[in-house]
Symmetry: C2
Subunit: 145 residues, 2 copies
DNA sequence: AATAATTGTAAGGTAAGCCTAACATTTTGT
DNA sequence: ACAAAATGTTAGGCTTACCTTACAATTATT
């Protein structure tokens, strides 16, 4: 089974749905529209697409939910987001808001491999604040596990 | 005078023109179309827009050139690209190709401030490979100059 | 110089992603 | 229960950025 790559826009919708479900029972189109600053009409349109791709269970005026693959996809995007934001905030020292905004865009386009290296670098940096240049070796060994 | 922010796409066109002019006398639409993997028709369309915005001097069947602001804009984008690529390649140890591809996308969306911090971090890391955590202080001082 | 090949442009089409306005449905308040 | 408010949907439009096809202009070849 091919791994589908969604557009940045649809990834944002999935992510928003997941986030809303973290602190609510239900997701309403209007919640998503507020989260993403788009019209309710745009939300309906996006939900139809996500439903066709089997990432959400959607029906007119019905309760919306994520499918298993929708949940999985959302978690992946969110994980990317958090890793990128963490690097910007904790390593580069950027403000929370700015780190978040940048991560929101980069999460959709960064490659798996570079993200993996970035994560490893952040981890290592946190573990060994005094010397970072053992990182290269660390990364090599980490890859060979 | 407001600083115009071009779309990612138009930034790509400007960048391509600049790059071609680095090793050619003239830029042809077909060169741009090859560099960006788009049709010649799309190039014509983009050139009309860039001409209207006064980033290129363009006229039907005439020699194309960058205006001063076009050149300035292209240099800025290219500089962003190089900084990001440098971090991915030299610090994270990614392959040249992958570093370049990722930089090509991120250059259009990263914020000035985070890029500045990334650049400083890369510089510092190169200067002090043994201890990186003086970076925070370094960055502060660097900002106050 | 005439023809062939290349390059540039115009016209018309497509898809994604957004919008507003109007209408349908559901929920809320009295 | 019923009117008012909120929410969801549809229809129609817009913009960006692509495309293909056909034609125009330029450049290269013989």
């Amino acid at each position: 089974m091919e791994k589908i790559k969604l557009s940045s826009s649809l990834e944002d919708y999935l992510e928003a749905i997941y986030n809303i479900l973290l602190h609510s029972e239900k997701v309403r189109a209007v919640d998503i529209s507020r989260e993403l600053n788009v019209s309710r009409a745009s939300v309906t349109e996006a939900l139809k697409k996500l439903d066709e791709l089997d990432f959400v269970n959607y029906g007119r005026y019905e309760t919306l939910s994520l499918t298993e693959s929708g949940k999985k996809y959302a978690v992946e995007v969110l994980s990317k987001h958090n890793h990128i934001q963490d690097f910007f905030e904790k390593i580069l020292g950027a403000e929370h808001e700015e780190a978040c905004e940048n991560a929101c865009k980069i999460e959709h386009i960064i490659s798996e491999n570079i993200l993996d290296r970035l994560v490893a670098f952040t981890e290592f940096t946190k573990l060994h604040p005094e010397k970072y240049n053992e990182f290269v070796q660390y990364y090599k060994e980490r890859r060979n596990q």
